[in-house]
């Protein structure tokens, strides 16, 4: 757990005092990722660096796992906090192995242990240990270096990590890959992480909570979904962008919106039965045909059922798409737009139909928690004073 208590930093500059961080109070629960988000110069980095004392706070306190860090020795404090700087900062004079082993060696681990750990971490960041451990940073691509930077911060297994725009220097495709890898890693590692970003999409994807900064002040601290659903003021709203409703689609899984009330017919049923069931369920266009394993095999359209006689199995039309429970709504919406349809069957891990998702259910889900411009304190993750 990281807790900031009225953390303030005032820089004395030749042009007068600059308040880079103004009474920041917030709490990141253990095992969660908190994203510090905001435009350039709003004090994200300053706030982050006060936690490991790269910048000395003017006032206020930092607690880690409930312990006031003010009294701790700076070196000890830092060795227990993983730190990923924006410029990566790998030591060019050391091999990758030495880079990753720096902190374990400072902590006095024995050689077999830290070497083994280095190999484990290479596996974790999806780089081949045999190919990379003996290389130097200059022999790696930017994305690979960034991964090593993360591995170095993780090496001694610190409970807390600080990451300053760690994926900023990578092209968008590789960035998405590294973000996914990192999230997967975090599911196992459960670190408490403060993560600086100026990219709203990254914040929504990576954060359990998001802290929005403006001119040194913390203006909103909530879950990504609450942030998008209920921005607390015009600044936050405009920073999130006009398409924030669409961005929320990323956050919601099919599982949360699916309705298991889906009418189906089997290939052996007559078209008459199909028509009756279409009417029962009030379907506009068509009904799904499933086999005895409940796997989708085709569609019977209303028009066809009304005008033709016979069995369903002889008149199957193609199922254009299905979605699975763990897909996000963005994929669903995209499929619906592409196929010009308003509902999609949902299948479970074994490919069995387990429900349907409709456009109406999606709009309803998003709309029910969509409160433009309201200031609803209860929606905040942890209420903050302004």
């Amino acid at each position: 757990m990281i807790q900031l208590d009225n953390l303030t930093k005032v820089f004395d500059t030749p042009k007068g005092a600059v308040t880079a961080a103004d009474n920041i109070s917030m709490e990141v629960p253990a095992g969660e990722i908190c994203i510090l988000l905001g435009p350039s110069g709003c004090g994200k980095t300053t706030t982050l660096k006060m936690i490991n004392r790269i910048i000395r706070p003017s006032s206020g306190k930092v607690f880690i796992n409930g312990e006031d860090t003010t009294g701790l020795d700076t070196q000890d404090l830092r060795r227990n906090i993983g730190y990923v700087i924006q410029q990566i900062g790998l030591f060019p004079n050391m091999t990758i192995e030495d880079n990753i082993s720096v902190v374990p060696r400072l902590l006095g681990w024995d050689k077999t242990r830290y070497r083994e750990r280095a190999r484990e971490h290479m596996d974790m960041i999806a780089l081949d240990p045999d190919a990379f451990l003996k290389r130097y940073p200059s022999e790696l691509s930017g994305g690979q270096q960034q991964r090593i930077g993360v591995a170095r911060a993780l090496a001694a297994d610190p409970p807390v990590m600080l990451m300053d725009e760690p994926f900023g220097a990578i092209d968008p495709i590789n960035r998405a890959v590294i973000q996914d890898e990192f999230l997967k890693m975090q599911q196992e590692l459960k670190k408490t992480i403060m993560f600086v970003s100026h990219d709203i999409d990254e914040a929504i994807k990576m954060g359990d909570s998001v802290a929005v900064f403006r001119e040194g002040k913390l203006v909103q601290y909530s879950t990504p979904d609450d942030l998008l659903a209920a921005p607390q003021n015009d600044f936050v709203e405009s920073f999130l962008g006009e398409d924030r409703a669409l961005k929320r689609l990323n956050l919601v899984r099919v599982r949360e919106v699916v309705s298991d009330d889906i009418g189906t017919v089997s290939p052996g049923d007559t078209l008459e039965t199909a028509l009756a069931r279409i009417d029962d369920y009030g379907y506009q266009n068509a009904i799904l045909v499933v086999n005895d394993k409940r796997q989708p095999v085709g569609l019977i359209s209303r028009a066809l059922a009304r005008t033709t006689k016979g069995f369903c199995r002889d008149h199957l039309q193609n199922v254009s798409a299905t979605v699975s429970l763990d897909d996000d709504l963005r994929k669903v919406a995209s499929l619906m737009f592409a196929q010009d349809i308003t509902w999609l069957p949902c299948v479970d891990a074994k490919g069995r139909v387990c429900g349907q998702i409709t456009q109406r259910a999606m709009t309803h889900h998003l709309g029910s928690r969509f409160r433009p411009g309201t200031t609803d304190a209860s929606s905040s993750h942890v209420a903050t004073e302004e």
Binding site: N52, I54, Q75, D76, L77, R78, R79, N80, Y83, I85, Q87, I88, G89, L90, F91, P92, N93, M94, T95, V102, V103, L106, Y136, P137, S138, R152, A153
Partner: protein, 243 residues
């Protein structure tokens, strides 16, 4: 490829010239004249090298810590002005430094070593300072951020990353040192300068060259030697010659 063939032709010309120079030296007995000075050259070259080792070694031992101290953040305020003073110091001709040192320390090896030491000190200190100051702030922040103490930062990050520049300083300084040692003869410290200056005085080109050519060779050898050490000692990741 006209340039290529031009180069080839030039190379041929040089070879022919060397051949004829060899024929001429052999026939005129110059080689024999040079051989006459061989024992002197051997003795004086050792003396020469000894002066370099003493003054250069002393300079390295003093200059690197000096550069390190000046590059510390707490010294930032005085460091720049001190470096300026050192830079002005570099422009004083070595002969003048030797003369000054003689007026304080008398004649012989001690004032010569001292004068040479002063002349050698500056390039090494300057490069050490510049090399350390040139280590990227991002590296320094990373080193501090992961919990290295100031001493660990210096020895594990700053010095290894500045080493190539420091070696460049040592290389320049020692090459200049060897080329300057002949002046030490003027204050009675010996070295190959003895043959050079006596040769000039006696208008004996062979004697003069018997001092000058070994001096030049020594400079080249020492330069290559330090380059080799740098090649081996500077970590591969920050060693442009091993990239």
């Amino acid at each position: 490829m006209p340039i290529q063939s031009l180069k080839g032709g030039f190379r041929l010309l040089v070879l022919v010239a060397i051949f004829f120079a060899g024929v001429w030296t052999q026939s005129s007995g110059v080689i024999g004249d040079f051989l006459f000075y061989l024992p002197d050259v051997q003795f004086l070259a050792v003396q020469h090298l000894w002066l370099t080792v003493l003054s250069g070694g002393l300079a390295i031992v003093v200059a690197i810590p000096l550069g390190v101290v000046l590059s510390r953040p707490s010294m930032a305020r005085v460091a720049e002005s001190l470096m300026q003073i050192l830079n002005i110091g570099t422009t004083i001709p070595t002969l003048a430094v030797l003369a000054l040192s003689m007026s304080f320390l008398g004649i012989g090896t001690v004032p010569a070593v001292f004068g040479l030491f002063v002349a050698t000190l500056l390039p090494i200190a300057r490069n050490t300072y510049a090399g350390l100051k040139g280590v990227s702030p991002a590296l320094m922040e990373a080193a501090a951020g992961i919990g290295m103490s100031p001493a660990q930062r210096l020895f594990r990050v700053e010095l290894p990353n500045a080493l190539y520049v420091i070696f460049a300083g040592i290389r320049t300084a020692l090459t200049i040192n060897i080329g300057t040692v002949p002046l030490a003869f003027l204050i009675g410290a010996g070295g190959l300068g003895e043959l050079i200056f006596t040769g000039i005085d006696l208008y004996d080109p062979v004697m003069m060259l018997s001092g000058a050519i070994p001096t030049a060779l020594l400079a080249i050898v020492v330069d290559a030697l330090i380059a080799l050490i740098a090649f081996l000692v500077v970590p591969r990741g920050v060693n442009p010659s091993r990239a």
